[in-house]
C-alpha cells in the first residue's frame, strides 16, 4: 500500500449498485469478485518480483489498476460467451478461472505452465474456459474475436465474444476491418477497449487524429457504442450487460470503451513510466479510484464484508501467489524434445496422420 494511505479520501458509494445485474448478485458472489481482483493484484505483484529477481524473461505487461474491467465483464459470461484479449492478459486469465500455478509457471517458462512454457506472459489460453488468449500483436486478436463470435452464430448458439484490446489497437487496420465485418454481418462480438490512456508511452492525444472518445469510431460502421468508467466493478458490469444483451438478443456487435488506469509501465521494461505521467497523477488514481479499495469499501458498506475478512482474503491471495512462485520455481523446464511438439495437430497425433512426407527440416538435432 502507498505511503499516502493517510490522505485517502473516502470513496463514494457506487451509483450502479442498484442496477439489476448487480442487485441480483448473491453476497458470496460479490465477495468472490473482490477476491478475484485481489488475487490478480497479488499475482501481478509477485510476478513483478519474480521478473526483477531474474526468474522471468521477455516482456511482462501488468494489469495492476485495471482489475475491475476483466473481473466485472467476465463475471457476466454464460456458456457460449467467449473471451479473447491482447498481451496484458493475466487478469483475464485469472478472471476466467485459470489457476495461479499454471500461469506463474508459464511466466517462468516451465513445463507445468498453461502453455507448457511455449507461450509466455502474452500467451495464456484456456479453451475449456472459453478463453482464447493472450495475443502479442497489437490489434491482431480483433479479427480472431470476430471469428469466435462468428462461429457461435454459425453454430446457432446464443452467445458472444468479448474481444478486449488496449487503446493502442484502435489505429490498427485489422481493428477497423473487424468493426466493419462485425456490423456488416451482425456478428455478436463485443469489442472492449480498455483505455488506460497510454499506447506504450504515447498519449492518445499524440496518436489519434480523431478528437472524440475512442468508442465513437463505431459510428463509422453503424455500430452501437458505449463508454464507461473502469474503476467501479458495478459500473463495468452494468455497461457490459447492455452489450451482452444486444449480442444475445439481436446478434449485434458493440464497441465499448472502458476508461481505466495502469499503475505500472506499459511493460516492466518501460523505463519512462514516470516520465510521461506525473507521480501525482498515478498517486491520485490509486487514492481515489483503486478498483479493489472501492469495491472493498462498497461491500463493507453493503454489510457483506469486514476488515478482518478482507485481511484474510488478502493474506490468502499473497500466500497463493507466493506458493505459485515456489511451484513455478520448482517445476522443470520443458524437455528439448518438446520444442518440436504442439506445432501440427498431425505430428502430435501420429495415428491420425493423413498427410505424408517430411514436415520438419533440420539436417539433424544433436
Amino acid at each position: 500500500m502507498s505511503t499516502l494511505e493517510a490522505t485517502r479520501k473516502a470513496p463514494q458509494p457506487s451509483s450502479f449498485a442498484d442496477a439489476p445485474v448487480n442487485k441480483s448478485l448473491k453476497p458470496e458472489a460479490k465477495v468472490g469478485l473482490l477476491r478475484t481482483m485481489v488475487r490478480i493484484r497479488r499475482f501481478e505483484e509477485r510476478s513483478l518480483q519474480a521478473y526483477q529477481g531474474g526468474n522471468i524473461g521477455g516482456f511482462l505487461h501488468l494489469y495492476n489498476g485495471q482489475e475491475a474491467v476483466a473481473v466485472g465483464s467476465i463475471s457476466l459470461c454464460g456458456p457460449h460467451d467467449h473471451v479473447i484479449t491482447a498481451y496484458r492478459d493475466h487478469g483475464h486469465a485469472l478472471a476466467v478461472g485459470m489457476g495461479m500455478n499454471e500461469c506463474m509457471a508459464e511466466l517462468f517458462g516451465k513445463a507445468t505452465g498453461c502453455s507448457k512454457g511455449k507461450g509466455g506472459s502474452m500467451h495464456f489460453f484456456a479453451p475449456d474456459k472459453n478463453y482464447w488468449g493472450g495475443h502479442g500483436i497489437v490489434g491482431g486478436q480483433t479479427p480472431l474475436g470476430l471469428g469466435l463470435a462468428y462461429a457461435v452464430k454459425y453454430k446457432g448458439l446464443t452467445g458472444s465474444c468479448l474481444c478486449y484490446m488496449g487503446d493502442g489497437a484502435v489505429n490498427q487496420g485489422a481493428f477497423h476491418e473487424s468493426l466493419n465485418l462485425a456490423s456488416l454481418w451482425d456478428i455478436p462480438v463485443i469489442f472492449v477497449i480498455e483505455n488506460n490512456g497510454y499506447s506504450m508511452g504515447t498519449s492518445l492525444a499524440r496518436s489519434s487524429a480523431f478528437r472524440e472518445c475512442l468508442a465513437k469510431r463505431a459510428e463509422g460502421y453503424d455500430m452501437d457504442w458505449q463508454q464507461c468508467m473502469g474503476h467501479d466493478l458495478y459500473e463495468v458490469r452494468a455497461a457490459v450487460q447492455i452489450a451482452l444483451d444486444r449480442a444475445h438478443q439481436k446478434s449485434r456487435p458493440t464497441l465499448i470503451e472502458i476508461d481505466t488506469y495502469r499503475y505500472e509501465g506499459h511493460s516492466v521494461a518501460d523505463a519512462n513510466k514516470k516520465k510521461y505521467r506525473s507521480p501525482e497523477e498515478i498517486e491520485n488514481y490509486k487514492t481515489t479510484k483503486d478498483p479493489i479499495q472501492l469495491f472493498k469499501n462498497q461491500l463493507i458498506a453493503e454489510g457483506h464484508l469486514d476488515e478482518q475478512r478482507y485481511e484474510t482474503i488478502d493474506r490468502e491471495a499473497k500466500d497463493e501467489a507466493k506458493a505459485a512462485a515456489d511451484f513455478a520455481e520448482q517445476s522443470p523446464y520443458p524437455s528439448r524434445e518438446s520444442i518440436r511438439e504442439d506445432i501440427y495437430w498431425e505430428t502430435d497425433q501420429p495415428d491420425g496422420r493423413t498427410s505424408q512426407g517430411r514436415i520438419f527440416f533440420n539436417d539433424e538435432i544433436e
Binding site: M1, Q49, Y51, Q52, G53, G54, F59, A269, A271, K274
Partner: protein, 417 residues
C-alpha cells in the same frame, strides 16, 4: 531472518545495473512499495521499490557501484537483526564501469576443438581428380584409379559414364568389372574389397594383360612316388619331429632339382634385362580366407625332401594364421600351385611376376594306361602344367624343365639320394 534486496532485472536486455543513489539509508524504516534507490540500467534510470517492509539493515552496493542482476545490494529485516555477512562476501559488487567493458552475465562456454580430418587421397590419386560424387563412388567401389580416367563432363569432370566406359571396355587400366547393364539383382551383395583382394586383382590382371603366357603339359606316372612315399612315411612318422611327406613335397623337391637343367625357368623379367636368380626360392600357393598367399622356401636347391616337407608344413600353418612376414611370401623365384586336394585334374595358373613361370599340379587319378608291355593296366597319373613368360622362357627351356621334373618324380629315389 534478514532478506536480501537484489539488483533488480528491470528490462529484457539488462544484465547489470548501477546504484545511482540510495533514497533510504542504513537504519531507515522502509514500507513495501517505497522507492529506496535509483538504479541505472542499460536503458534508463529507474526507481527501485521495496517488496518488503522493515529496516534497511545494510547497504552492500553504495551509490556509484554496479552489480549483476540478482546480486544482493542491501539487506532488509527486523531492527537489530544480525546479518551473516560472510555468506554474502562473494556478492558481486564492483566499481561502475562502462557497460561495454563489463563481464557478460553468462560465461561463454568454449567448445572443445575438434580434430580436423586428415585429407585422404581419392582413388589412389594425390590431390583431387575432378569427378562427380557418383563417379567417385563407382570408382572407389571398383578400385578404379580416377587418374587413369578421362573426364568428358563439363570442364573435364569425370562422370559416371567415363568410369563405366573404362570398366566395360577393359581399356588401358580398365578391368572389365561391370555387368553390361550394371544391374544389381535381388539378393546380390556387394562385398567391399579387402586390401588382399585388391592386391591379388591388381597383380594378376597386370600379369594376364602384360605377360605373353604359354603353356606346356605333361602327365606323370605317380605309381613309384606313391610306393616310396608309403615306405618313407612309415619310418618318418616315428622320428622327432614326425614327418609326413605329401605328394606336393615330392613335386617341390623335383622342381628345385630340375632348375639345374633349365635355370631360365627360375629367372626374373626386369623390362631391360633378365635376372638369372642364383637360388631357387620356391614359392607354393596356400588358400587362406579371402584369398591366397605364396609362402617361400628359401634356397630350396640346398634342402632335402624332409626339410622341404617340414618347412612347407610350418609355413602353410603360419600362412593360415596370417602370421607370415612380407619377406616370407614376396621373395619367391618360382611358384608351384597344387589344386589336387580339391579334385582338380588339370589347370593352368597365371604367372606371378616378376617370376617367369609357375607350375600347376593336378590330382592323382587312377586311369587305364598302356604299360611297357603294351598291356592296358590301372595307372596312377598326375598332370603338370607349366605356365611361362615367353619373354624369358622359350618352349624348349620349358620342355627340358618339365621333362626333368617328370623323370625325377617317376624315379623318386633320385630325390632322396
Amino acid at each position: 531472518m534478514p532478506t536480501a534486496i537484489t539488483m533488480p532485472k528491470l528490462s529484457d536486455t539488462m544484465t547489470e545495473g548501477t546504484v545511482v543513489k540510495w533514497l533510504k539509508q542504513e537504519g531507515d524504516t522502509v514500507n513495501s512499495g517505497d522507492v529506496i534507490a535509483e538504479i541505472e540500467t542499460d536503458k534508463a534510470t529507474m526507481d527501485l521499490e521495496a517488496f518488503d517492509s522493515g529496516v534497511l539493515l545494510k547497504i552492500l552496493a553504495p551509490a556509484g557501484t554496479a552489480a549483476a542482476c540478482k546480486a544482493p545490494i542491501a539487506f532488509i529485516g527486523e531492527k537489530g537483526e544480525k546479518i551473516d555477512e560472510a555468506a554474502f562476501a562473494a556478492a558481486s559488487v564492483k566499481e561502475a564501469a562502462p557497460a561495454s567493458a563489463s563481464a557478460p552475465a553468462v560465461e561463454p562456454v568454449s567448445a572443445p576443438a575438434l580434430p580436423l580430418p586428415t585429407p585422404q587421397a581419392v582413388g589412389g590419386l594425390v590431390g583431387r581428380a575432378k569427378a562427380s560424387p557418383l563417379a567417385r563412388k563407382i570408382a572407389a567401389e571398383n578400385g578404379v584409379d580416377l587418374s587413369r580416367v578421362t573426364g568428358t563432363g563439363p570442364g573435364g569432370r569425370i562422370v559416371k559414364k567415363d568410369v563405366l566406359a573404362l570398366g566395360s571396355t577393359g581399356g588401358s587400366g580398365g578391368s572389365g568389372w561391370l555387368h553390361a547393364t550394371g544391374y544389381i539383382g535381388k539378393g546380390d551383395e556387394r562385398v567391399p574389397l579387402t586390401n588382399m583382394r585388391k592386391t591379388i586383382a591388381k597383380r594378376l590382371q597386370q600379369s594376364k594383360q602384360t605377360i605373353p603366357h604359354f603353356y606346356q603339359e605333361m602327365e606323370i606316372d605317380m605309381g613309384p612316388c606313391m610306393a616310396l612315399r608309403a615306405v618313407l612315411n612309415a619310418r618318418l612318422e616315428k622320428t622327432q619331429p614326425p614327418v609326413k611327406l605329401s605328394f606336393n613335397d615330392f613335386v617341390l623337391k623335383a622342381c628345385a632339382v630340375a632348375m639345374r637343367k633349365a635355370p631360365v625357368v627360375n629367372a626374373f623379367w626386369e623390362e631391360d634385362a633378365v635376372r638369372m636368380n642364383g637360388s631357387v626360392h620356391l614359392a607354393f600357393g596356400v588358400a587362406i580366407p579371402g584369398g591366397l598367399i605364396t609362402p617361400v622356401i628359401p634356397d630350396a636347391q640346398d634342402k632335402n625332401l624332409k626339410q622341404i616337407s617340414l618347412e612347407a608344413k610350418e609355413l602353410a600353418a603360419r600362412a593360415k594364421e596370417g602370421k607370415l612376414k612380407p619377406e616370407e611370401y614376396t621373395t619367391g623365384t618360382f611358384t608351384v600351385s597344387n589344386l589336387g586336394m580339391f579334385g582338380v585334374d588339370r589347370f593352368s595358373a597365371i604367372v606371378n611376376p616378376p617370376q617367369a613361370a609357375i607350375l600347376a599340379v593336378g590330382n592323382i587319378v587312377a586311369k587305364p594306361v598302356v604299360d611297357a608291355n603294351g598291356q592296358i593296366v590301372v595307372g596312377q597319373r598326375m598332370s603338370l602344367t607349366l605356365s611361362a613368360d615367353h619373354r624369358v622362357v622359350d618352349g624348349a627351356d620349358a620342355a627340358i624343365f618339365l621333362k626333368e621334373v617328370k623323370d625325377l618324380l617317376e624315379a623318386p629315389a633320385l630325390l632322396v639320394a
